[in-house]
Symmetry: C3
């Protein structure tokens, strides 16, 4: 494995190999596999799980890491190309990124969405411009439109729980949230579940349709894996027989980048909060998934989060094991 | 050792074993004892010594750590139970704490006092609520009412200096400080010295009495160990024959949580600043102890801090060795 | 090697040994050389390259590090001697520095220039006062007037590129920058190039002369090494035949510490921006060097930075290898 930008760049077999390795490392530690190896962690926006799980992963494999976030730099990092830097920023990513990468055997980069233009964010420009500056393997730690580490962890969590692949019904549901959030997790998640061969339903209110490019890509993965992808605003039909309800809020795509119109679009949608009533017609053992952080009482009730359906802590823990496998494949013996 | 919340949960023999191990690790490093092991360090308030000494301890034992503080998270961490999270906080400790712990083999937690209600802080509610969310061993890195790592370091420092146990006189003295500070260190310190079998005097001005529950607990430890605990505002009597003057400021307990009344209570007490005159009737080799950070010229004079009586740097260094022993007992060979 | 404060404290042979070790560690990793060893990294001002490269260096050698910056401390660190600490600062460097050092096998300290008085900064008072508080080897991670780690990296970069020593012409050129910057890098660089035996020209506009004490020290190093040091404001003469153009902005020394007069002195000097025209009469393979961070379009054009003359990324990467050698000499087998 030379890079990890998008789960779609891997075959299903490669994902299965990675997750088998993740499972082995979980059971049989290899505390010297990456001794002397360095992972650079570059965050252009804040993080909790990713920050902690990558550092822990490197320690468990005998290596180490260092963290750079823009607030550590002298006056932030300039990202605009061709600019005359006579303002506040004292350093440009064209120097900062290759320098940081040059200290490391691999680099993880988090580059969030600008959320001004949908096309711009779908092209993942920030992430790709930084990736192009690195001469070591790059791991996408969440970009404008992708989050492959979360997807690997979620796939492993469903494997651990023996959730069926073909024939399993996976509902990715929009949920209420007071702010317009990026599309990275829903885009990654619909693709992951499709690639796993599941029957995927994207459940969302009017105005929150996932972009065609994302849906088409997922449909193509589904057809290769023997699954399906549909989209609806009919909650009753969507939830019928579900094995998984995966909740996540995201921006209005109809009004992407328009804060006022987005707020109007989501006004009155605060009943898109997952509670036990959502599980009335699901499979009896239907699980609740969420990538975290989650707003309690807004996205989902305490009852669900604290009850037996919720596997959100397992998902988060599997971030570490999935990333250990990625790092092991990238760096062990190199 | 499965957890470390309160020195009172250990027997004196367990403390002695821990400190013997600390001494061995100080002399004979074991740089592979914890290879591949991870310590999570969760700070709900700032830190210098604890932050540095725990990270150093893990490196010295061949493992590693990661640090989480609330300012790293997306919008702080919510701690209130049952709340609808429609405000600034994007994550609740009910998810954050178990997730952070799930990446680690042990977790250190710092949770300071709210300093609104004495009963609330004496119950150590913040620390205990986070501790209950963890499925790995928990180390108290200072809570509202306890600081066992400081106590272990202080005990070791007195052992290193051959300060007598039974028959040694230990004076814990209140000192002036412009702000109302938590009770964690005085509460932990009076217990530690009592458990070590010393004759402990708590010297403090009117209005700064230590709570009965703390004094009673210390007296019970003293009676088991052959020592004693008394409280007084008579500086002359208290200091007579002392082996140790341990200075620390703390909130007025009479006006706990009332900032204005606390300020009035401490007004005019700025002569509670330790200087050489305090040592006129002590043992000739009486030492000055303080947990740091210390305000020079306020709590104690430069002359004392920079002179031969002060062992504050040794106390701080012993934090690392004591914590190495705790981590080794918790994690080595596991 | 017991300390690294100033390249001038080493002989040329010692520098060559260090750089030979750096080259060996670059080719043949020693991932257990410093197992269990701890490096403390104390930053009194922000950092990117130094922060990352020292952490990476310790991981590559099997040890680890921890980072302390003043914003992590409870209320900043007091540095003034003899002060009554009744203000915001809760801790003095007289405690903080020896405590931090006591957790480590070596400590790196960054202490920037106050830039109020030239004599004060030339004496490197902040760095020296902190260094005197440490009982473990101290590494200067950039002080008011020195930056030996940058100098080692720059020397190695020229060796890697086979830039001639005796007979090689090294031009340290002042460059425009909107702010008054410290003298640390120019002072260290002129000395490094002189010590390497090169013919050094300091090119700078009127009012930006390097202080006599710096120039005299460099001339003494040059005469020992068979090189020379001159200073001029004649760009054409300076650049003729140059092997290296090393650009760096610095404060007006004529108006040191006077922000308004400094701004007036640098007004109109924004043509001191390195572009291809500067290379018209240099050696054909003349390289562009800079310590980073660099302001694009201000200090140097994008064309130069992105073109084949620029070796700024190599210089930054060599920070890590040079520091690995320093740490190895200080700590391996100890």
């Amino acid at each position: 494995m030379k890079e990890l930008h998008d789960l779609a760049e891997l075959t299903a077999e490669q994902v299965e190999d990675l997750l088998a390795l993740a499972g082995r490392l979980q059971k049989r530690p290899e505390p010297r596999a990456l001794e002397g190896k360095v992972l650079a962690l570059l965050f252009m926006s804040p993080s909790l799980r990713t920050l902690a799980s990558f550092q822990a992963a490197m320690v468990r494999l005998g290596g180490g890491s260092f963290v750079i976030s823009p607030d550590m730099s002298i006056h932030g990092l300039e990202t605009r190309p061709g600019i005359v830097m006579d303002g506040m920023a004292a350093e440009h990513i064209r120097e900062a990124v290759p320098v940081i990468a040059s200290y490391a055997d691999a680099i993880g980069i988090r580059a969030f969405a600008e959320r001004r233009s949908l096309d711009h964010d779908l092209a993942d420009n920030e992430f790709n411009s930084m990736r192009a500056l690195c001469h070591v393997p790059v791991i996408n730690m969440e970009s404008a439109i992708n989050h492959p580490c979360q997807s690997l962890a979620d796939w492993k969590t469903m494997d651990d729980l023996a959730v069926p692949r073909n024939g399993g019904k996976f509902v990715l549901s929009w949920a209420y949230h007071p702010r317009a959030l990026p599309l990275a997790v829903p885009a990654a998640t619909v693709h992951m579940a499709a690639m796993r061969g599941m029957d995927v339903t994207v459940l969302r209110p009017d105005g929150f349709e996932l972009p065609d490019v994302i849906m088409d890509k997922a449909r193509s993965a589904a057809s290769a894996a023997g699954g399906s992808v549909t989209e609806t605003d009919d909650r009753g039909a969507a939830l019928e027989g579900a094995q998984i309800i995966y909740a996540k809020s995201w921006s209005s795509t109809r009004h992407y980048g328009n804060r006022v119109a987005d707020e109007e679009q989501r006004a009155g949608l605060d009943d898109w909060r997952v509670d036990e009533s959502w599980f009335a017609s699901t499979q009896p053992d239907c699980r609740f998934m969420h990538c975290l952080p989650v707003r309690r009482g807004v996205v989902v009730t305490d009852e669900i989060l604290d009850g037996p359906r919720s596997v959100v802590i397992q998902e988060a823990q599997n971030r570490m094991y999935a990333q250990m496998a990625v790092l092991h494949q990238m760096l062990a013996g190199k």
